[in-house]
């Protein structure tokens, strides 16, 4: 039925009764949703009942690579993992690279849907269409590197690819991640969902090649793609040599690198403490995802004090912010150690760092005392205190236990006016951009279907000055509604669904992305799209994801920003004085809903819009 790209099979694993089912991938699902994030949202909306407990057996975990994964298209070993988020109650979706995504394709599947809950800890072993449930009792409690190595030894195959959880996921902390190799599906607590199912790991091995519909057409489309990569002004050599942490310098220069829980942005500017010059002194190699010629992932080695000798893949830019800028920690070796600890225990570096930064501000303000911190002097910049709290988090011990479910839930427990210092949207902690100086980026945080998520509708026009589809002034609010919609849709359509590394979009191919994705899809799968139809796939996915959130009770009122960003101007640097006032946010939201064809009052998709996207059934579900 499928000429290429797709295996045509969905693997459904039920952990309650340890049953396994293979299903055919419906053609209309492939055509309308492409794969990856598209399949994740489609199966989530269709199969997870309204108001399900995110940590209960009704929630489902959907692992979905895309039709480009496993072909010779570079940088396409990506997968979306989707479930209802226990952290936000909204869509929980994260993407990850590495080798696991293509291995799932080689094993024969376009998606893996995990259902139910096992009575005992298990791991699942998938090899070329055969599925086995194996006891994970002896693995329970293990860190992620040990877990992966022991499973490889047990299966007597060092090339098995594994996605697993650490103690944080087992203990269902709501900021737990899923780790594959040293890559992470980091955010929204998907590791806790896996832990709630008593699923320690998924091990995959496959030998099936991904078919290609038309090799000559693929050669042509691939040539266009790789030329854009070579012509990129940043991919080689800068990004290949420096990786994402190069953005620390960039954002400091722009005055929007958030520091000290967004109290210090611009005024306290740690470029000399944790910027690229210092990062270079800790280089210990680099890693590549499958089929990636760039290899942006930098391996770092800590060199001083108690952290000396600790190695990690990373820290990525976001982690330099969360364990560095946000907490005010200037010791790069502590940041390296914190990154490794988070990966080993299996929790999100952004949410954990930002939650600790929140607690640091409370301590500085006297809302938390030494009695609350177990004697820790939890001030900004204290790396020893940061590490101590991080160690507590995975096991819900001490102050770490209070912060283990993120800043929003911690604030609700602490009270005393602490809510206004918790930097989150919909419960998801803010990533590394002080959006008071980048307003489309801010609107994306407010409206993204996963909460404050830079991976949804990244405003590269504002952050990197890329003039596609047009140049924009980062300080203004006008016109940002339509731009944000476009950013969300193009990223979903050309990177998160097919699947493709998101970095290539802004650094190399954005000018040709919809055309090239259409060409690649036709060459690989034989399914034809116009560039506009590719963009519509992104719109469709964003609408169905929004419909899921509306069904869960989210409204326009949830599309907001932390109070600090709307009332306190950036205190220093070149973005000093800027903020997103409530009036500006209202203006941008109105523009955004109008651009989306949604109800401006409620923020809900309308029946007409859903119908135009072949989603009328979702309108029925929502009783629109």
């Amino acid at each position: 039925m499928y000429k290429g790209g797709y295996t045509g099979k969905i693997l459904r694993i039920n952990l309650t009764d340890h049953s396994v089912k293979e299903e055919a991938l419906p053609f209309q699902t492939a055509k309308d949703f492409i794969g990856g994030a598209g399949f994740g949202i489609k199966y989530l909306f269709d199969e997870v009942p309204a108001n399900s407990d995110a940590l209960g057996p009704d929630n489902k975990l959907i692992f979905a690579p895309g039709p480009l994964s496993g072909t010779n298209v570079p940088c396409a070993s990506r997968m979306a993992v989707t479930a209802k988020s226990p952290l936000t109650g909204a869509v929980g979706m994260g993407l990850s690279g590495g080798h696991f995504p293509v291995e799932l394709k080689f094993a024969g599947y376009d998606a893996l849907i995990v259902e139910g809950r096992s009575k005992e800890p298990v791991y699942v072993w998938i090899k070329d269409g055969e599925v086995k449930f194996r006891s994970a009792k002896t693995l329970w409690g293990m860190k992620t590197t040990d877990t992966q190595q022991i499973i490889k030894n047990e299966l007597n195959d060092q090339n098995v690819r594994i996605a697993c959880i650490g103690p944080a996921g087992e203990n269902q902390i709501k900021i737990a991640s899923i780790i594959n190799e040293w890559r992470a599906v980091g955010r929204k607590g998907l590791g806790a969902v896996m832990g709630s199912k008593n699923l320690k790991a998924i091990a995959v091995r496959g030998g099936e090649k991904v078919k290609v519909n038309d090799k000559d057409k693929l050669k042509e489309a691939r040539k266009v793609f790789t030329k854009a990569m070579k012509d990129s002004p940043v991919l080689y050599p800068a990004f290949a040599n420096l990786g994402t942490p190069m953005v620390v310098d960039h954002l400091c220069h722009m005055g929007i690198f958030p520091t000290k829980n967004f109290l210090g942005t611009g005024a306290y500017d740690p470029i000399e403490q944790i910027g690229t010059a210092v990062q270079a002194t800790r280089n210990a190699g680099k890693e590549h995802c499958y089929g990636c010629p760039v290899g942006c992932s930098q391996v770092k080695l800590a060199k001083t004090g108690e952290y000396a000798g600790i190695m990690t893949e990373g820290p990525e830019f976001e982690t330099m912010y969360s364990f560095g800028g946000a907490t005010g920690v200037e010791n790069i070796d502590a940041i390296i150690a914190a990154d490794r600890l988070a990966d080993e225990m299996g929790f999100d570096t952004i949410s954990s760092g930002v939650s600790i930064a929140f607690a640091m501000e409370l301590y500085e303000k006297g809302i938390l005392t030494k009695e609350d911190t177990g004697g820790l002097e939890l001030r900004f910049g204290n790396d020893t205190a940061m590490m101590a709290v991080l160690r507590q988090m995975s096991y819900r011990e001490g102050l770490g236990g209070l912060l283990a479910d993120g800043a929003k839930i911690a604030a609700e427990k602490i009270g005393k006016g602490s809510e206004k210092f918790a930097m989150h949207v919909k419960g998801l902690e803010l990533p590394a951009y002080d959006v008071r100086g980048a307003k489309s980026h801010g609107l994306n945080f407010a409206t993204s279907f996963t909460g404050a998520d830079h991976c949804r509708g990244y405003a590269f026009q504002e952050i990197f000055g890329i003039p596609v589809p047009k140049e924009v002034d980062r300080f203004t609010a006008e016109g940002k509604g339509a731009l944000t919609k476009w950013n969300q849709d193009i990223r979903t359509a050309t990177t998160d669904a097919p699947t493709m590394c998101g970095f290539l979009l802004d650094m190399a191919v954005v000018g040709i992305a919809t055309r090239n994705t259409a060409d690649l899809m036709e060459a690989i799968t034989g399914i034809s799209y116009t560039p506009d139809e590719i963009l519509s796939v992104g719109e469709r996915i964003n609408n169905l994801a929004r419909a899921f959130n509306v069904r869960e009770g989210f409204t326009r009122a949830d599309d907001t920003l932390p109070e600090r960003l709307m009332t306190e101007p950036i205190p220093g640097g070149v973005s000093k004085g800027h903020f997103i006032s409530r009036e500006e946010l209202k203006l941008m939201l109105d523009e955004y809903y109008i651009a989306r064809g949604w109800d401006v009052k409620t923020g809900s998709p309308t029946r007409a819009t859903l119908k135009s996207l072949n989603l009328e059934y979702a309108a029925d579900v929502l009783n629109l």
């Binding site: 940043v234 991919l235 220069h253 990525e316 830019f317 002034d473 640097g573 973005s575 000093k576």
Partner: protein, 96 residues
């Protein structure tokens, strides 16, 4: 004379000798005047980064900012500089 604070990144900071420095310019100098002064000192090395191949048009992938605002939303090269203005010239970056 006015004093301008300049910040820049990566290869540009190597060519210019530092990632932040000050420049003195006559009153009513423009952003273009600043670039002229910089290229007079560091010409052959600096020019290919700042300009397109015609040697005149500002490179489209470089961010040129005055007090954080892209000069494309000010008066471009004709933007008049004030004493203590913060100039940021950034090579393309990516990731995050």
């Amino acid at each position: 004379m006015i004093t301008i604070n300049v910040r820049t990144s990566m290869a540009l900071s190597e060519i210019l000798g530092n990632w932040k420095f000050q420049v003195s310019l006559p009153q009513t100098s423009t952003f273009g005047d600043l670039l002229n002064q910089l290229t007079q000192t560091h010409g052959d090395e600096l020019k290919p980064y700042l300009f397109e191949t015609d040697g005149k048009t500002l490179a489209s992938h470089i961010m040129f900012m005055v007090n954080g605002r892209n000069i494309r939303f000010l008066n471009k090269e004709k933007t008049v500089l004030q004493d203590n203005d913060e100039i940021t010239i950034l090579l393309p970056a990516g990731g995050g």
